[in-house]
């Protein structure tokens, strides 16, 4: 079994692609590259490509991963050197490595870090934003009510899902925050939800539709429960 794991960037215009659109775009790029992909059986054969952690529309990433199963190896150097001829602007392969049979990428992912930009209607000092973050995180639990598919209300505590939150900078009415959150099958916290709860709790008026997210790191855990990249796992 030949599996090529690729680390890629999704930014600029490509942030507006939904996950399904990204899947189609990648498949067609691989086809243009004439990669010998392995296909599923059946009446509607699909190439075997799997993704680590689907991004919502509008979110950028500089650290996403996919696994594509191949019939024949492709030269990684060729792939990285010539990718520009095949990929649309905003998608870029950073690195690629072959590996054998592996657990699905999606099940490996445990944490991700985001850079977040918020716009508010008042200017705040960096220190005061950090104070608010600390204050927000000092709660014993951070809960909200979630309505599930059966329309049942469930109280969710996201405190255990937050790794850290820190202010990187503040300029004019923009706040830049970095946060590490749990991602994947063992709990998942969306940064949008985190910001909503933070701003609500701290009384920050966040301007609607102006918050921006960029995923900057994606991690798995090794046997010692240490964060490692998806190439290392």
């Amino acid at each position: 079994m030949i599996i090529l794991r690729i680390k890629y960037v999704k930014e600029n215009n490509m942030k507006f692609l939904s996950h399904l659109e990204l899947i189609k775009t990648m498949e067609r790029a691989f086809r243009r590259m004439k990669l010998k992909m392995k296909f599923s059986q059946g009446f509607n054969p699909k190439p075997k490509i799997s993704y680590a952690a689907p991004l919502p529309v509008g979110v950028e990433s500089e650290c996403d991963f996919l696994d594509v199963e191949l019939e024949e190896k492709v030269d990684i150097k060729w792939l990285l050197d010539n990718q520009k001829d095949f990929l649309p602007n905003g998608l870029k392969f950073l690195d690629a490595k072959y590996h054998g049979k592996s657990k699905s990428l999606m099940s490996l992912v445990t944490d991700s870090a985001y850079i977040i930009q918020l716009c508010t209607d008042e200017h705040m000092e960096k220190a005061s934003v950090q104070d608010k973050l600390d204050h927000f995180l000092s709660q014993d639990s951070i809960t909200y009510e979630k309505v599930n598919k059966k329309k049942k209300v469930k109280v969710v505590d996201i405190k255990p899902l937050i790794g850290y939150m820190e202010v990187l900078s503040v300029y004019e009415e923009r706040i830049i925050i970095k946060a590490l959150v749990t991602t994947g099958s063992n709990g998942n916290l969306k940064p949008e939800k985190l910001m909503e709860l933070f701003c609500d709790y701290e009384g920050i008026h966040m301007l609607e539709g102006k918050d921006r997210y960029r995923r900057v790191e994606l991690y798995a855990r090794n046997e010692h429960n240490t964060k490692v990249t998806l190439f290392e796992v």
Binding site: L17, R28, P88
Partner: protein, 612 residues
């Protein structure tokens, strides 16, 4: 900057990838002063517009010209339009996000009549006056082409000039002339006077119309002798050597026809009497198998599409279709590129081809018997018998298909209850035929969809004189069928009758509809082709406000009446159309004109040689 302003609103709308452009194979050019900037506009949402083959051909062709930059323009969806108006964002091109008002030429492709209000909406978003006479030298010149341009009159006061027929050659001539306009600083009028003399171009402002007391046309003609009385459509003679793009734009979002399209011929010899396309695209011109196969390979290489579609008006009529399809399947099966065909005629060749195609990818099957009874199929000159239908359905069920879709029209000339019953009968026959298949070959339960659309008589078809069914008649027939179809395995679909009658009004309309259209837009009509947005009441208000009776246009026409589109010559003679209409009324089949030339006139008037 407009670019950033647009980016900001893209966070707030559904499917923003419709608006980002920058797709693989979209064309980028450096913006220079001498560039002729064209906006090619399909006035519907991106997913629909991007599925239109003709736009891709002309986009590619225009961009081959060094000093021409053709960009795409699509209608923003309702949510996007709202945001654009809220943030003062004008209508912009997909490629460079340029305000369309800054372009030299804005070209609309007219594929269905119900797109007209969207054209106005696009102009409105960039504050471009609707009527030709109200626009200044600074506004773009507005042209239009496509199948609805064969009756240009309902939008003749809006469009500066129309291009009739196939655009590959005439557009190059128009660009050459526009270059001269730029170099010589001609006014718009000076340009229009000259463009009016290019074959196949119609400039409405140089033509006058007068009406009789009963509302029919008394006189129609050029205001000045220098302009042609009759405008003949343009065609490309040799498709094997004509321009055809291979670097098709690869969309991100799911467009309606999300695949590689290879055109295999133009024209059609079947002579179905309801069919405008079968008349206006004559004569038949095929591409050779080698050209088709080579084009397909290049498109797949340049795009990475996983499906390849052979398009034409009746794909299996290509004289070398079997070899072509088999070769394409052979070339593509290793890469799992499926081959698909548009809706099929019902015959043995279809079964043979389907059998081969399913080896790669299994797709749904759609057939178009068009009418339920044999008598009615003879009226429309469909040339498909009940036995053909039975045999085909039985064969495809035996091959393992269990879902089939059948297309019909209701409201055809001479239609009776028995003809409608025939649709129900075909549904029952289908499910019965499925039951005859040995159980081990059946895949689950059978599902038959009977889909009906209200018939709209179109210019240049033999039914152009026919009185269209009224809203009430259509509804009554729909309800009748809905009640009648009891089979649980049969699904019955029908198109909204209100849109069919409005389409009928505009299809055979005249210049007096320009004001109605503008009024309807002002009342809020847009996306009329989308059932959820179509507002029949507002349209009726618009007709009333303008003092125009819509049903004047759907009435039966006399053979000696001057029809609004009579000044256009599509190559098919009126006496042929009359003969065919008479044959229809007598349910006389005339068959395929490949077997027996019916003297439509195309050979003599248009190409000066035998069609075949």
């Amino acid at each position: 900057m407009l670019r950033n302003k647009i980016d900001d609103v893209l966070y707030l709308v559904e499917k923003p990838s419709r608006y980002i452009g920058d797709e693989v194979n979209s064309v980028k050019k450096d913006i220079r002063q001498d560039l002729i900037r064209v906006g090619f506009c399909f006035a519907d949402v991106y997913e629909v517009g991007m599925s239109h083959l003709g736009s891709h051909i002309l986009y590619g062709l225009l961009n081959e010209i060094e000093d021409v930059y053709c960009e795409r323009v699509y209608s923003p969806w309702i949510d996007m339009e709202e945001k654009m108006r809220e943030h003062n964002i004008p209508m912009f091109t997909t490629e460079t996000r340029t305000d369309i008002k800054e372009l030299d030429i804005l070209s609309f492709t007219l594929q269905y009549e119900l797109i007209y209000t969207n054209i106005l909406n696009i102009l409105d978003l960039s504050n471009i006056p609707f009527k030709s006479k109200d626009r200044s030298e600074d506004d773009p010149i507005i042209m239009a082409g496509g199948s609805c341009a064969y009756n240009p009159e309902p939008i003749a006061e809006i469009v500066d000039f129309f291009s009739l027929g196939e655009g590959e050659e005439v557009l190059v001539e128009v660009m050459d002339l526009y270059r001269e306009k730029k170099n010589n600083n001609w006014t718009k009028d000076e340009f229009l006077q000259r463009v009016a003399k290019i074959d196949g171009i119609y400039v409405p402002k140089f033509y006058d119309v007068s009406y009789k007391e009963d509302g029919t046309i008394e006189n129609f003609g050029p205001v000045d002798e220098q302009y042609p009385k009759v405008i003949q459509k343009r065609i490309v003679e040799d498709l094997n050597n004509a321009y055809y793009p291979t670097k098709f734009i690869v969309p991100y979002t799911d467009v309606v026809h999300d695949r590689a399209n290879v055109e295999i011929f133009r024209g059609c010899t079947r002579g179905c009497r309801f069919c405008q396309a079968g008349m206006i695209y004559r004569p038949i011109r095929e591409k050779s198998k080698d050209v088709i196969v080579d084009t397909a390979r290049k498109i797949i290489e340049a795009t990475g599409f996983e499906e390849l579609s052979l398009t034409s008006l009746s794909t299996l009529d290509h004289t070398d279709i079997k070899n072509t399809i088999f070769e394409l399947i052979e070339n593509n099966k290793e890469d799992y590129v499926g081959v698909s065909l548009p809706s099929l005629r019902v015959d043995d060749l279809a079964v043979e081809v389907i059998q081969e195609i399913q080896k790669i990818r299994k797709t749904g099957l759609t057939f178009a018997p068009e009418a339920g009874s044999q008598r009615m199929r003879d009226v429309i000159n469909k040339g498909v018998t009940e036995e053909d239908l039975e045999r085909t359905l039985s064969q495809i069920f035996n091959l393992g298909w269990s879902r089939v879709k059948l297309y019909f029209m209701i409201g055809l000339p001479t239609e009776t209850r028995e003809d409608l019953d025939g649709i129900d009968d075909l549904g029952n026959k289908s499910t019965w035929l499925y039951k005859q298949v040995p159980a081990e070959r059946r895949k689950g339960s059978v599902s038959v969809t009977l889909s009906t659309a209200g018939f709209v008589p179109k210019p240049f078809s033999p039914f152009q004189w026919f009185k269209q069914n009224t809203l009430e008649e259509f509804r009554e027939k729909q309800y009748y069928l809905k009640d009648k179809i009891k089979n649980k395995k049969v699904k019955f679909n029908y198109h909204d009758a209100e849109t069919s009658v409005l389409e009928g009004v505009f299809a055979r309309g005249d210049r007096r509809l320009n004001d109605v259209l503008i009024k309807a837009f002002e009342l809020g009509c847009k996306f009329d082709g989308w059932q959820e947005h179509f507002d029949y009441e507002k349209w009726m208000q618009a007709f009333e406000a303008c003092g125009v009776d819509p049903w004047f246009y759907t009435r039966e026409r006399a053979y000696d009446e001057i029809l609004p589109w009579d000044f256009i010559d599509v190559g098919v003679r009126k006496d042929f159309l009359i003969r065919e209409y008479e044959n229809a009324l007598n349910a006389v089949l005339t068959g395929d004109c490949r077997d027996n030339c019916l003297g439509c006139g195309v050979n003599i008037d248009l190409i000066g040689r035998e069609c075949w």
